[in-house]
């Protein structure tokens, strides 16, 4: 089976029913993608398939045949969003962070706080209380740290 992984064409022989997350972590050693709940609820395992965020813990690898898969490793540690997550303390234990960042990457160029909330609704964080995460994402896009009604929610 062939697919594109972080920009490179890869080929593997694996049971097509294997979960995508297991292929990423065990076959390719890409352990940046985390497993939290294993049931689609927490978003820790979020990767992009053809640019759209999905939970890799509930996807059979057969479904990425000829698709483009992007994981947190693609950012190489130097992405502005990664730096902002650190600066704003949007990452504490860090389990949710790769998934949060991958989900945030699919946001448009000028997201409101509401857009950020919606985009990250499928990502749970037990540590930060979310405000620092929303702040990091809004600052990355150069957007005001307020909701539409003008209440300073994440400042």
């Amino acid at each position: 089976m062939k697919f594109t992984l972080n920009g490179e064409t890869r080929e593997i022989a694996v049971n097509p029913a294997t979960r995508l997350i297991d292929v990423l972590r065990e076959e390719f050693g890409l352990t940046g993608t985390k497993e939290g709940c294993g049931e689609g609820e927490c978003g820790a395992c979020t990767v992009l398939i053809d640019g759209e965020p999905v939970c890799s813990c509930i996807i059979p690898v057969s479904q990425v045949a000829s698709a483009e898969v992007t994981t947190i490793e693609w950012l190489n540690g130097g992405h502005p969003l990664q730096k902002l997550f650190m600066d704003e303390v949007g990452a504490q234990c860090g389990i949710c962070t790769p998934g949060m960042i991958m989900a945030a990457l699919s946001l448009g160029p000028a997201p409101t706080l509401d857009d950020v909330r919606t985009a990250l609704a499928g990502n749970l964080c037990r540590c930060t209380g979310y405000a620092a995460i929303y702040r990091a994402v809004l600052k990355w896009r150069g957007m005001p740290l307020e909701d539409g009604a003008g209440g300073a929610v994440v400042a």
């Binding site: 097509p16 049931e39 999905v54 939970c55 509930i58 996807i59 479904q63 499928g122």
Partner: protein, 263 residues
């Protein structure tokens, strides 16, 4: 697991062997990870492009079985003809689930908590089933024979959902514990016209149209009378998520809100 690349291919495989279809896997793989899945042999239909489109055929809105929640949300056609389905799709899971979960999977999975089901029931939608032997059409309200039991045969696939034109104001609400994650506790979809059409999810073993309530509202327009009949008509499921009494109260409140907001 086998993967089908075309509809013919998929239907031939299902004629020859028993396999469980896999669409977006958002129900199946949760069960698999949980260890509660009995089936072991699968047929991945995700790559069957013919099942993916959203279009108009005659006066029917046609949703391919593999249409995802995201594609419903993005479709101008669905926004124009069936806005209550867009509303329902927006409230399913998070973006990750919306990107993979399909309308065909929601129907076939048969959970009485499926969010698209009350919408499709209220819209008089028709499920299109196909096997190598041909196609048949079943009203969504006649598709379920009991809790998670359907008329679909093992050699069939849901290929599409056909929705006739809907006259009147459309309304959708879901009451659950956590908007993005919870499988809904109570879902209601309604269409307000001279004969209102009202459907509930999670109040019975299957999605239900409350036809007695509809008739009372159509003939008297009296919401108190309608709410009274509703209480007699539905038998809420008393499960781990909430008690029957609570569900009944929520259902009645939803009916009243629908009536007030669509008047």
């Amino acid at each position: 697991m086998r993967s089908a690349t075309s509809l013919d291919d998929a239907l031939r495989i299902l004629r020859d062997e028993r396999r469980t279809p896999v669409a977006g896997a958002t129900d199946l793989y949760v069960a698999l990870n949980f260890g509660t899945l009995e089936q072991k042999r699968f047929l991945d239909i995700w790559a069957v492009e013919e099942l993916r489109g959203i279009s108009e055929r005659g006066d029917m809105l046609v949703l391919g079985a593999l249409a995802t929640y995201t594609s419903l949300i993005r479709s101008p056609l669905v926004a124009r003809r069936l806005p209550m389905l867009v509303e329902a799709a927006r409230q399913v899971g998070g973006v990750q689930i919306q990107n993979r979960g399909t309308v065909g999977g929601n129907i076939a999975n048969g959970s009485p908590a499926g969010d698209s089901l009350p919408v499709l029931a209220a819209a008089d939608a028709v499920v299109v089933l196909r096997s190598v032997d041909g196609e048949r059409r079943v009203l969504l309200t006649q598709y379920y024979t009991g809790y998670r039991a359907t008329v679909m045969r093992p050699d069939e696939l849901i290929v599409a959902i056909e929705v006739p034109p809907v006259e009147g104001k459309q309304w959708f609400r879901k009451v659950g514990t956590r908007a993005a994650q919870a499988i809904s506790k109570i879902v209601m979809a309604g269409v307000r016209s001279s004969h209102p059409r009202i459907a509930f999810g999670s109040v019975a073993p299957t999605v239900v149209r409350v036809s007695r309530t509809e008739r009372v509202l159509a003939s008297t327009g009296d919401i108190d009378e309608g709410a009274g009949v509703l209480a007699e008509e539905i038998a809420p499921i008393d499960d781990i998520r909430s008690t029957a009494e609570y569900r009944l109260r929520v259902a009645t409140n939803l009916l009243r809100r629908f009536w007030a907001e669509t008047s």
